[in-house]
Amino acid sequence: MTTHMQSTTSRSDLLTLTHAAREPAGVARMQTNCLSVHFEDRSAIDDATLDFFPHEMTSLVGPNGAGKSTLLKCLDGILEPTHGVVMLDGQPLRGPSPRIAYVPQRSEVDWKFPISVLDVAIMGRALHRNRFLRLSPSDREDGLVALDEVGMRRFAKVQIGALSGGQQQRVFIARALLQDADVYLLDEPFSGVDAPTQALMVQVFARLRSAGKTIIFATHDLAMAAASADTCVLLNRKVIATGPPATVLTVPNLQASFGGAAILPPGLAARP
């Protein structure tokens, strides 16, 4: 599989990075240009210029409060940046688009809500297709197929709150799959889920990537960021570094992003 790399250079003024020579990538599917978000007097993201390509999986890495969720919300069109623009296929993104699927952090959901696994999965479909009418049997059938892909078909009738964290995350992945989008945005998909679910998600993302989708996920887990993504964006309120994980997740970069306490996963510890 060809790995598409990003053509932008890091805007970090902390470090000058030596990037490997980059092959010219295809046309970017999503771009941010000089994106900044300010909340009252605090800046959450400053001057981020990034490209995201089809057939590419990108991890947004950084400590808590680094602006990962904020950046994802801008990319999804649900948060308007203070400065700069988000582009989808060369067009400025104005508000949410059906071509973008978004998987929020699990903590933002009301788990006590009396709703079944299948109804959660087909929630997105239901809103797109026929807002006011009955669902067709094919929508439910598609829902079961998507649940099957994440191994949750036999839980279709169970109330969502009765599931474990990993199982809930699988249902959310199924819901995103049913939207049949071009871009998949996921906020901390690997946190608080079991290892088999993590492995299954990596597998699903790989399938989406080979189908030409763009996958962007936020994580504070360096091992996941390094192991599964083609491109890493290291954030701490601004873009510290961007590129293949091996060149981005270096000791000086991580110290710049996480501070001195950064603990490296074993596979990365040896690199300068």
Binding site: P98, Y102, V109, P114, M123, R131, F155, L163
Partner: protein
């Protein structure tokens, strides 16, 4: 048995009791359905606020002789917009803003009505309802507005469910959160307004919250919850009205007490969630492990 039937039919010889029963069944059903969404969205306090906030509107239309429905809707809209505006400023929490405005609006209503000569009687009938004074016109109005509320909820059921379950996702789907919230609050205001005459300002919250809370303990399916809640609402109304008729208790209070009693019984004895039921099930399990099937079927199946 004939005696009991005669006894139960006795109130129906009076036209005002027939109207009262019809009104409380309608209000019980509509509040039961609306209350499911109110409790699921954690808007019980907002419901209380609207019930009190409509008070000045009702008082003014009562004095000038206009439609109390219109007065109440105007008052509810002004107050809910004011709450939304203050919350959006980000300086105060939503419940703080609610607290400020609903008591303020309620005080305005009290201030206006205290200028009237028939102050005490008017306040009592507005605060606690006057179910025996329900006319045929009132019934038709309740039926018409209530049907409109239920139809709107049905049309927007997916949006309302999505917004209640996962707000961020709803936003990402391009739903107009502000518009849907305002629509929901309007439906809530209408529900409260048509309930005012039967149960009154102060007690309407119980019709919204208690049947829905009871239903939540009995099911994990939304459609079942809606049906159970509506049923509990209507049943509390009918039983409460009988108790009121035979015991001479204030009808609004009697209805709410019946709903509360049903809630407490359900809390203690609900098949899978009841405080006593689960304890008995656990005891049975320890003393008779061979009867484990009971646990498998009854308790454990809700937690796979």
């Amino acid at each position: 048995m004939i005696d009991l039937t005669t006894l139960l039919l006795e109130p129906f010889q009076y036209a005002f009791m027939r109207n009262a029963f019809a009104a409380i069944v309608l209000v019980g059903l509509i509040c039961g359905v609306m209350g499911v969404f109110v409790t699921l969205r954690g808007l019980a306090f907002m419901g209380d606020a609207i019930a009190h906030a409509v008070f000045p509107g009702v008082v003014i239309s009562y004095i000038v002789g206009g439609s109390f429905l219109v007065g109440a809707i105007i008052a509810a809209t002004i107050v809910s917009l004011a709450i939304g505006f203050v919350t959006q400023s980000g300086l105060l929490r939503n419940d703080t803003a609610i607290g400020v405005f609903f008591v303020g609006a309620f005080a305005l209503g009290v201030a206006i009505i205290s200028t009237q000569k028939s102050y005490a009687r008017d306040v009592a009938s507005l605060l606690f309802g006057s179910i025996l004074g329900v006319s045929r016109t009132d019934l038709l109005l309740t039926f018409g507005v209530g049907s409109g509320v239920l139809l709107t909820l049905w049309l927007f059921r997916r949006q309302v469910v999505t917004i209640s379950f996962d707000r961020t996702f709803a936003q990402a789907q391009g739903l107009n959160l502000w518009g849907l919230d305002q629509l929901f609050l309007l439906m809530l205001s209408l529900t409260i307004v048509i309930s005012l005459q039967t149960v009154g300002n102060v007690l309407v919250l119980a019709m919204l919250v208690t049947p829905a809370a009871t239903a939540r303990m009995l099911t994990t399916r939304l459609t079942t919850m809606l049906a159970v809640s509506a049923l509990v609402g209507a049943a509390s109304g009918v039983i409460g009205l009988y108790v009121s008729y035979f015991q001479g208790i204030s009808s609004g209070a009697s209805i709410v007490l019946v709903a509360t009693a049903i809630f407490i019984l359900t809390f203690l004895f609900a098949p899978r969630t009841g405080a006593i039921t689960t304890r008995v099930a656990r005891r049975l399990h320890f003393e008779h492990p061979e009867r484990d099937q009971f646990l498998e079927d009854g308790v454990a199946s809700s937690r796979p």
